[in-house]
Symmetry: C2
Subunit: 329 residues, 2 copies
């Protein structure tokens, strides 16, 4: 059995309240008794029971993190960031994976929401009104999605798309295709929006190839459409899909980058290791996780006092081998 605060109190010859104060509000107790208490606690290996503390303070010291699919390498990176920062702040992290199912997502938010102080929703797929509704009962922070005044951390997709388009234009491309992600993905919509702006400004033609599952297979499925569309360059919703494109293009005998330039988004580990290595719009994934924790904690500590509950993180084009000078036929 673990030591309780009473045993520490007895060991130190003080009352339980003094022990409690010595540990949580040290400035309220005399230096010498504090010392004595700390030493006793040390001796007994005492650590406060978080459930008991939570019962009275109403805070659990836990935060929840919900992601659509851990198998997509984007998410583990975010999770690592969340997890590391939460630990620094002495919060523990509940993790849940929805398998890309919006209904499961809402259910999970509901049940997990009761066990935590706040929730981080990474790339949530639920409908806006549902999230708005959930917002009432739980403090939550979204990553990779933005609407209304819901606190959020997003990437500057517009600028990322601008960089990608500028890169392609510099290589002489005039037509670029977009391979979209899930219909329910806010960032897919945001990216195609940025892309429209950027291509229009650059005087390039944009071919939107529709929505595909955000996996390798999605990219494979899109590849033939892309080839048929006659573009010389393509930007995919994420790296996994871009790698799928790469694979199918090779099978079809389309050379990358000579015949087709390919750009991904996310900068997952694998994209540096493919052949050719993938040019990609790099996102600070762990950074986003950390930012979300910081935002959530500040929200928890001064519920009303947070001036700006939206954070936008920069993106950076990483030029590798999958983009090259446009084919001139």
């Amino acid at each position: 059995m673990r030591a309780t605060i009473r045993e520490v109190a007895r060991e130190a010859g003080v009352s339980p309240s003094t022990v409690s104060r010595a540990l949580s509000t040290p400035e309220m107790v005399n230096a010498t008794t504090r010392e004595r208490v700390l030493r006793a606690a040390q001796r007994l290996g005492y650590a406060p029971n978080r459930a008991a503390r939570g019962l009275i303070t109403g805070r659990t010291g836990n935060i929840g993190l919900i992601v659509p699919d851990l198998a997509n390498p984007f998410f583990p990176s975010v999770v690592k960031g969340v997890q590391a920062r939460a630990r620094e702040a002495d919060y523990a992290v509940f993790l849940a994976d929805t398998d890309e199912d919006p209904t499961a997502e809402v259910g999970l938010i509901r049940v997990l929401g009761k066990q935590v102080d706040g929730l981080i929703l990474c790339s949530p797929r639920a409908r806006e009104e549902e999230i708005r509704d959930l917002c009432e009962s739980t403090t939550l922070v979204m990553v990779n999605r933005r609407f209304g005044s819901v606190p959020s951390v997003v990437f500057d997709n517009v600028d990322g798309m601008r960089q990608a388009v500028a890169h392609l234009q510099a290589l002489g491309h005039e037509r670029v295709a977009w391979v979209g992600g899930p219909r329910t993905s806010w960032s897919s919509r945001d990216r195609v929006r940025g892309l429209r702006t950027a291509t229009a400004a650059a005087g390039m033609e944009l071919v939107v190839a529709g929505h595909f599952p955000p996996h390798f297979e999605g990219g494979v499925a899109a590849a033939d459409l892309i080839i048929a569309s006659g573009v010389t360059s393509v930007i995919a919703y994420n790296d996994l899909m871009a790698l799928g494109l790469l694979g199918r293009l090779r099978d079809r005998g389309v050379r990358v980058p000579q015949d087709m330039s390919v750009i991904g988004i996310d900068d997952i580990q694998m994209s540096a290791m493919s052949a050719p290595a993938l040019t990609t719009v790099s996102l600070g994934k762990a950074q986003a996780g950390r930012a979300a924790v910081d935002l959530l904690i500040s929200l928890l500590e001064q519920p009303e006092g947070v001036r700006n509950a939206r954070r936008e993180l920069p993106t950076q084009l990483l030029v590798r081998a999958s983009t090259g000078v446009a084919r001139t036929n």
Copy 2:
């Protein structure tokens, strides 16, 4: 504010104790009052406060999961399995990532161990005596490691290596290299042991190339040693390293599988998508996660009554394009 048991009691016109019983031991309360209580609870959207319940029952309803590195695709798969099964059993999962640091690992086990009913250690890197020590104070289950009587879920590495070696032998290979993982990895040691047995039985020569970090780069680093060793086939500690091998072999102009056959272990998503697709020893990763949860829960529910606290999961060789008939010079 959330409804408490007292409000439900008032709403239903009974005492709090009756509400408690109606929810947790329904057979102890009269059918009609039970019905009334349940309806009142429903109306108020009542859900018991887990901290309060935990305070008296001494159980939190949480389990902890500690993995070395979420960025390694092996682990997210296990996490998904753990997570899904835990949710079915109404447990929530704390996740922590140690960044492959054994010291951090021990620290995490200590702190997380106090907030959960039990802990799942996936591929733990800590020293045996430390784990044995931790065992005293926390009920824990190891995945991918086995020693003493610590409850564990492991893969049948010996049989996996047997299958791989049989496959290579059938293809006419006589010399095979092993690219090992971290020195602290039990499964690396277990696999090389199985490999020794299998190659000896098959009359093949085994070249052990030492220890490498379990990443893509580790495989890259090992590749030149492998080429120099003159073997015609190589088995890597995991798929990530095998993919690294593949990449470096291509750069060096060594054709796979004509000049060199390559086998990985794990069957991560990416290994089906590489060119050539990777032959690999497939492991039921999510299954291992589920098994670990089942084992942990049965341990929690009948602390002494578990006859066999060790589970061994089968492995299956997946033949793809990276293995072929041995080069005959």
